[in-house]
């Protein structure tokens, strides 16, 4: 860490991890309600648990991305952040807005919340991921503007690298793509079409650019490989993201009321969407093999190498399985989609967030890397979480297949709840995998509570004595 102002990233990273814990707790409750529908009812109905789970996911990922931006942009620009104070104020505003949102979900019935917050004037509520009341949505825009102002001014006054251009550019994209959250026409088909501008635009477009910039930055720092080569790779990867993903949005338009030509366009282009993830794997492992130094932060390297693989499995492979129109005709709206959603969100975005946290947090705490003891805890957490998430994905896939064959493609189709009852074994596996994931998260968090840094002399001595 070379600039004092990079320190503002620290509260963002800590808050991100705190909110991550909250997300998993709500996930465990939701999973249990699948099995015991009366659990916590009517105090917290499933929809409230569900929106708390998904909103916390978005908030903690945004927290981590913002922290990453405040950490990376000054370092890349080789200058102090334009206004560390503004970044800190923005942090508290965003954290309070997030807390108020979740509390309002838990304490106020949704319809009353809508009535209290002026939803009748400009309706925006009642859509997946975008459940927030109007004032909170406006607050999100203000937080984004503050971030954009700060990092753009820093970029302007400092060195201009491709990593910084892609990162700051994609943060602009992130903010612009949130604006359709205010477009909620009466026509349900148009509303769904526009909702995907935010959701697809973020997770299958813009956020992949953020992922590329973050991974590029981490690998430049950790491997010492020439920046020109890494930045060229990143440009090719994000080019493929947008070439496949922009029109690939059509895979959301098959059965929602949009014209039939989307069946073809969506199938063809979304079938190309795994390509950037394959390139990401090739890029990161090629870079690892060509490394010019051994960075002592082994845990960060594990996260950085694990991200492309898990992202490929979740976004690339599981996404591809459900994306072709004739297949999606039977799989659309089943837990197969939930399986894809979980592995893709975790593999691509949670893991890149944890990668940058893993690289930056020791530096923010005045160490090059954590002690090997702390790193072993962190790497154990990595494996437990990764394997649990794969188990959860397989369980949800199983539930999706049950629905596909008993409800969708059956000669005598059965009713929804009848089929759900037959998936109980998979919902149990999912819940156990969730508990195991939570244990992995606690092991990971334990790693932050060891003092001391990586000591070359001790490690060398230990290696020689074996």
């Amino acid at each position: 860490m070379n600039y004092q102002s990079q320190r503002v990233a620290k509260p963002y990273f800590i808050a991100a991890l705190g909110l991550f814990v909250g997300q998993i707790v709500f996930g465990l409750i939701a999973g249990l309600q699948y099995l015991y529908g009366t659990f916590l009812f009517p105090a917290i109905p499933f929809d409230v648990v569900h929106m708390s789970h998904t909103n916390l996911l978005i908030v903690w990922l945004l927290m981590a991305f913002m922290g990453a931006a405040y950490f990376i942009v000054p370092e890349e620009a080789q200058t102090e952040l334009y206004s560390p104070k503004l970044a800190l104020i923005t942090f508290w505003v965003f954290l309070s807005a997030g807390a108020v949102t979740i509390l309002s979900y838990l304490l106020v019935p949704y319809a009353k919340l809508a009535a209290m917050t002026g939803n009748a004037v400009l309706p925006t509520m009642g859509r997946g991921y975008l459940e927030q009341p109007l004032p909170i949505k406006v607050g999100i825009v203000l937080v984004a503007l503050s971030l954009l102002f700060n990092v753009t001014m820093t970029l302007i006054k400092g060195r201009k690298t491709s990593i910084n251009f892609i990162l700051v550019g994609s943060l602009w994209g992130l903010a612009l793509l949130f604006l359709p959250a205010f477009y909620f026409p009466h026509d349900t088909v148009k509303a769904s079409y526009g909702w995907w501008w935010v959701v697809h635009g973020w997770v299958e477009g813009d956020w992949e650019l953020i992922l590329g910039a973050l991974l590029g930055f981490i690998l430049i720092k950790m491997t010492g490989v020439d920046r020109e080569i890494i930045e060229k790779w990143i440009y090719i990867i994000v080019a493929m993201t947008l070439i496949s993903g922009l029109v690939g949005i059509g895979h959301h338009y098959y059965f929602t009321g949009a014209p039939a030509y989307w069946l073809w366009i969506g199938s063809i282009f979304s079938a190309l969407e795994p390509i950037p993830f394959m390139l990401l794997i090739a890029f990161s492992f090629k870079t690892l093999l060509q490394r010019r130094r051994e960075h002592p932060n082994k845990a960060a390297m594990l996260w950085a190498m694990g991200t492309p693989i898990m992202a490929f499995l979740g976004a690339g492979l599981w996404g591809f399985i459900i994306t072709l129109a004739p297949v999606q005709y039977y799989i659309h709206g089943t837990n197969f989609t939930a399986a894809h959603g979980h592995l893709a969100f975790y593999g691509a975005y949670a893991m890149i967030a944890l990668s940058i946290i893993s690289y930056a947090m020791p530096l923010l705490r005045g160490r090059t890397a954590n002690s090997m003891l702390a790193q072993r805890w962190e790497m154990t957490g990595f494996w437990v979480m990764a394997l649990s998430m794969i188990a959860m994905t397989l369980a949800l896939t199983g539930a999706g297949i049950v629905t596909t064959f008993l409800q969708r493609a059956a000669e005598v189709p059965q009713g929804f709840m009848q089929v759900q009852d037959k998936s109980r074994i998979f919902f149990w596996i999912r819940e156990f995998a969730g508990v195991s994931f939570f244990i992995g998260l606690l092991i990971y968090l334990r790693s932050f509570f060891f003092t001391g840094e990586y000591e070359y002399s001790t490690e060398v001595k230990q290696a020689l004595s074996k």
Binding site: D47, H50, G126, Y193, K232, V238, I249, Y329, A338
Partner: protein, 141 residues
């Protein structure tokens, strides 16, 4: 190879590719928006349908259910529920919630009056007539 294919070329592919496909997408979107009102019979969105839609959104129905496959997977598809169950069943069902059967998934009671139930039913009827390219495959949704 590294001299032949430079970073500037990679950047230009990125900008050019993104720009080209963004324009294609905008053109397709323009055409789609011309077709949607015909495919979903937007002219049939009466004041009652719109009131029903508002109730539907502000009670977060898609927090448990799906509409044309979008939403949460905790409760049945509602895009075609009007054709599956009919208005009388739907209204009686909503009125009688929660069932309170131990261990079963529960739907809250939203305390809708008769007029509101008619509005919701009208919205569900409108939803069930959207041309969704023959989805879902059967009436069970």
């Amino acid at each position: 190879m590294q001299q032949v294919f430079t970073k500037a070329m990679a950047r230009n592919i990125f900008i050019g590719g993104a720009g080209f496909f963004l324009i294609i997408y905008l053109l397709l979107t323009y055409d789609t928006f011309q077709q949607i009102p015909v495919r979903d019979h937007a002219s049939n969105m009466t004041p009652s349908v719109l009131r029903g839609k508002y109730l539907f959104d502000t009670n977060d129905c898609i927090g448990c259910h799906t509409v044309n496959g979008e939403g949460a997977y905790f409760a049945p598809e509602l895009g075609n529920v009007y054709k599956r169950r009919g208005p009388d069943f739907i209204k009686a069902w909503i009125r009688s919630q929660p069932t309170g059967v131990p261990g079963r998934r529960q739907m809250p009671n939203f305390n809708f009056n008769d007029e509101q139930l008619n509005d919701i039913s009208a919205y569900l009827q409108w939803l069930s007539n959207i041309d969704t390219n023959n989805w879902p495959p059967n009436i069970e949704g």
